[in-house]
């Protein structure tokens, strides 16, 4: 795990460490098994094409998981992911790189909590945002230690 980030280390505009993912058809099958989502558009190319898709596509929930990893890594062991929201705007196919990114929008203290609100998203290999979202993370404070 990367070094813990503290509330004092970030400001509005700070970027979250990005996370690169290279999903394969193998991962889609693995995710289908682990999640129990066996909708065939995620592993059966013929079925996907018969449904008007270019080929098999990533589970939305897997993309949600990539963004969950981005922000739970950012929160670290001493932080806590309070809220996570994602919207699926574009389809993603296996075999090409996806990058999870984020930046801090604002930070504030709410009672005991040092709160950081982030804008997060997935970029496909063409740099298009297929999956925008938001996250609220509680970070530890050096002052409160």
């Amino acid at each position: 795990m990367a070094a813990q980030i503290y509330y004092e280390d970030v400001e509005a505009g700070s970027e979250l460490p990005s996370l690169e993912k290279n999903p394969t058809t193998r991962q889609l099958v693995q995710y289908a098994g682990a999640s129990g989502d066996f909708y065939q558009i995620h592993y059966d190319k013929d079925f996907a094409q018969a449904n008007g898709l270019p080929g098999v596509i990533l589970h939305g929930a897997l993309k949600n998981a990539f963004l969950g990893q981005l922000v739970s890594d950012f929160a670290g062991e001493l932080g806590w992911l309070r809220k996570l929201a994602v919207q699926y705007r574009g389809m993603d196919q296996p075999g090409s790189k996806i990058t999870a990114r984020g930046k801090v929008v604002k930070k504030y203290v709410d009672g005991q909590d040092h709160v950081v609100e982030c804008e997060i998203w997935l970029d496909n290999a063409k740099g298009e945002k297929t999956t925008p979202g938001t996250a609220t993370v509680i970070l530890p404070s050096r002052a409160a230690r």
């Binding site: 795990m1 098994g33 999640s35 998981a65 062991e77 001493l78 929201a85």
Partner: protein
């Protein structure tokens, strides 16, 4: 303009709620889920390393609840295609191996909008996950699009 697929009859389902179901959270299932999403975080994979954190042991990754096999209430509209529109999660208490998580899902909203492909129904399911101590752990709001 009158709704085409989200009729008054369909709208009556807003507020309806599922029977509670209880699931035992298995350590192996958490680890398999973390492996499937490719997340090596020790909190989700290694009990020994996780013991030395403030959590005192492994916890479930943020979207693990997807694997419990919750069936959202079926809202029948005259549309064949289904899309997952997205999810909002709120995390209150960590979910741990050995927890018994009780799940209740309700239809929070159903609305219609006209899309490029015709009328689309946006169905929002709100699902609450509570542990064996009656602590509310996670709230999930997932939007399903039928068109």
């Amino acid at each position: 303009m009158a709704n085409k697929i989200v009729t008054d009859e369909v709208k009556k389902l807003i507020g309806s709620q599922s029977q509670p179901r209880t699931f035992e959270i298995e350590r192996g299932a958490i680890r398999r889920f973390a492996e499937a999403i490719g997340d090596p975080n020790p909190l989700f994979n290694e009990e020994q390393a996780a013991r030395h954190t403030r959590f005192g042991g492994m916890i479930a990754p943020p979207t693990f609840m997807r694997s419990l096999g919750i069936e959202f209430l079926d809202v029948k509209v005259s549309a064949n295609r289904v899309l997952d529109g997205g999810s909002e999660w709120e995390y209150l208490v960590p979910i741990r191996p050995g927890d018994r998580i009780t799940v209740v899902s309700k239809v929070a909203d159903i609305r219609e909008s006209e899309g490029r492909l015709g009328p689309m129904a946006f169905i929002v399911a709100e699902t609450r996950y509570s542990n064996q101590f009656d602590e509310l752990c996670v709230i999930q709001r997932t939007t399903t699009i039928r068109y």
